[in-house]
């Protein structure tokens, strides 16, 4: 029995992580590691960077082919794709968001980890929208690149 099967929270050991060089270029990290029958991310990628053995296999990202274009973020039905780009001592994280009220570019928000704990602050840098899912790019400290997976309005 794996830990995430009991509490719903992945650890970094569960994931295939990109190298520092790949993170600087920017890559999509897909936090989808179970065999579930789903493959729209494969079709969504314009660069053929996402592959699957069959529809039940977990997706594999070729981090060298991935251009961090974020096309996959809004299509994933599991909202499990995050695009991460390290710029100097900062990180830009693009994540899917489906709650009102929508934040605005420039807002300072709480940065949450995979358990929903507030672990720092982030600034909203870019907002796109795809079929009612907001695709939000936030900026925070580089050290939080592998921890921030959600945001919340500051109270």
């Amino acid at each position: 029995m794996k830990k995430y099967e009991q509490d719903g929270v992945l650890t970094l050991d569960d994931l295939v992580l990109p190298s520092d060089k790949q993170l600087k270029k920017g890559v999509a990290l897909i936090e989808c590691i179970q065999e579930i029958p789903c493959n729209p991310c494969v079709d969504a990628c314009p660069f053929g960077a996402i592959s699957m053995k069959d529809i039940n296999a977990p997706p594999i990202v070729d981090y060298d082919k991935c251009t961090a274009c974020c096309q996959c973020v809004g299509i994933c039905p599991g909202l499990a794709i995050f695009v991460i780009k390290v710029v100097d001592d900062k990180v830009l994280i693009t994540l899917p968001y489906e709650f009102y009220p929508f934040p605005n570019v420039g807002d300072s928000v709480q940065a949450l980890n995979r358990k929903g704990d507030a672990i720092g602050v982030a600034v909203v840098r870019k907002i796109r929208k795809r079929d009612k899912t907001m695709i939000i790019t936030i900026e925070s400290g580089k050290n939080l690149a592998m921890d921030i997976r959600n945001i919340r309005e500051k109270k």
Partner: protein, 460 residues
């Protein structure tokens, strides 16, 4: 009281703060509605002098008189009108306009058959109309599209076929019985409701597809009848169809996909989800759904169950308890959680009463969720030209229901002489179905469907 013209009586009552709809026979305990989708009987009220109206699917009309009925439902005060029955004769009857039934209709029409599609709800789409999340699967099953959008697309297609005279769509209508038909035909009695008044139809068809869906399971614990204990379908219906908050603070029971998805939708509606409890030692639903909840700060407690619900006349809180490896409650591990709503997402049972009335062979298959009609890979039951599809043939996902509907639609039309590449299409759809069931999450339906197929083949 006020409501919207698109409300049902139950949703309007809820929006006005009325959660007690009836009282129990013996102990006079307050009862609210449970399933919210027209399947159970906890929402029966007296409307315009007519007793036993299912208020969760009855439309709200201006100036109507709604009463809590006395326990035995005294005789109607509404006038008894004797009306002549109307007769419909066509090729195929499809009962249930959810994902399976809509696709069965589309495919049967594509084969050249004429169809009557019947549903007891006020709108088509079945449970799709409350699925605000994007669907899994491949692009054949419209993966990445929200369930609500799939319902809109399919309805558009069917309305288009209706304008060409290929299909008659009868909503707010219930198939209530079956009769001996003429040779090679099936005869059904159908009630079409016009507001609360019912009109009787006789429907004569050569083939029939039952895609009647399923209903949320109840769980046994003290207080499970208090208003505020709802099935997951009822919670989704209230908030996603009628825009009514089922409560302010919810405790979710069950961490399968339904429990996880409905919890997330509750958060989206601005409702607090205190936690999700799951009796199994692991989360049964997809991890990605669990992760969405966790990163919003909602705890998921596996090996935990509900011990009892407390409250006077309504839910005021829950006592939850930890379970040991033998699923027995651990004494002293009880925790009191105050909340006004308990949502049960503890599995579904196929709705099969019409199928048993028709006389097809039924068996209990645990993996399929209960008693199901035995059927083959063409979705053909043991009665000639009677087909089944979707959750009523075994509990599964909407994506597989759609494909089963396609197979049943093609098969039903093919069995009565229509053939536009029918065999090839069936083969293609069976392949898609097989692929979706291949992974570990497809194991339960795979085992269930295999049992059903073996029982079907071995029955002679």
């Amino acid at each position: 009281m006020e409501g919207y013209s698109s409300d049902t009586i139950a949703s309007a009552l809820h929006a006005n703060g009325v959660k007690t709809f009836t009282r129990s026979l013996k102990y006079d305990r307050p009862r609210g509605f449970f399933c919210g989708i027209g399947k159970c009987s906890s929402c029966l009220m007296r409307v315009e002098g007519i007793p036993n109206v299912r208020t969760c699917i009855a439309p709200l009309k201006k100036d109507i008189h709604v009463e809590m009925q006395d326990k035995f439902a005294k005789k109607p005060s509404a006038e008894f009108k004797r009306k002549k029955k109307k007769i419909i004769s066509t090729d195929i009857l499809v009962v249930g306009a959810g994902p399976a039934g809509m696709y069965a209709s589309i495919e049967a029409i594509n084969q050249g058959a004429k169809v009557v599609l019947v549903d007891e709800n006020l709108q088509m789409g079945g449970q799709l109309v409350k699925q605000t999340h994007k669907f899994f699967g491949s692009k054949h099953e419209k993966a990445g599209t929200r369930g609500i959008q799939i319902a809109v697309d399919l309805e558009k297609e069917l309305r288009n076929q209706e304008s060409k005279g290929k299909i008659k769509i009868m909503l707010n209508s219930t198939v209530i019985g079956t009769y001996e038909g003429e040779k090679g035909k099936h005869k059904f009695a159908l009630l079409k409701r016009d507001d609360y008044e019912e009109n009787l139809y006789e429907v004569n068809v050569k083939a029939v597809v039952f895609s009647t869906g399923a209903m949320d399971n109840m769980l046994l614990f003290p207080g499970n009848d208090l208003p505020g204990v709802y099935g997951a379908g009822a919670v989704q219906t209230l908030m996603n169809v009628y825009g009514v908050k089922p409560g302010e603070k919810v405790l979710m029971v069950g961490a399968g996909n339904v429990g996880l998805i409905v919890s997330y939708q509750l958060l989206q509606a601005g409702i607090k989800v205190d936690r999700v409890v799951e009796a199994m030692p692991i989360i049964g639903g997809y991890h990605v759904h669990a992760a969405k909840l966790r990163r919003c700060g909602v705890p998921i407690q596996t090996s935990h169950s509900i011990k009892e619900v407390y409250g006077r006349d309504k839910v005021e809180g829950v006592i939850i308890v930890k379970l040991d490896e033998n699923w027995q409650p651990i004494l002293g591990s009880e925790v009191k959680v105050s909340c006004d709503t308990v949502c049960l997402a503890v599995g579904l049972t196929p709705s099969t009463r019409l199928l048993s009335q028709v006389g097809v062979e039924m068996e209990f298959v645990g993996e399929a969720g209960g008693f199901v009609a035995l059927h083959d890979e063409d979705m053909q039951t043991t009665a000639p030209n009677v087909y089944v599809a979707g959750d009523s043939s075994g509990i599964e996902e909407a994506s597989t229901a759609m494909i089963e509907g396609k197979i049943a639609g093609v098969s039903a039309a093919h069995s009565i002489g229509f053939d536009k590449n029918a065999i090839k299409l069936k083969k293609q759809y069976r392949g898609e179905l097989k692929r979706l069931r291949e992974g570990p999450f497809g194991e339960k339906p795979r085992v269930g469907k295999n049992k059903i197929k073996k029982l079907f083949e071995g029955r002679k």
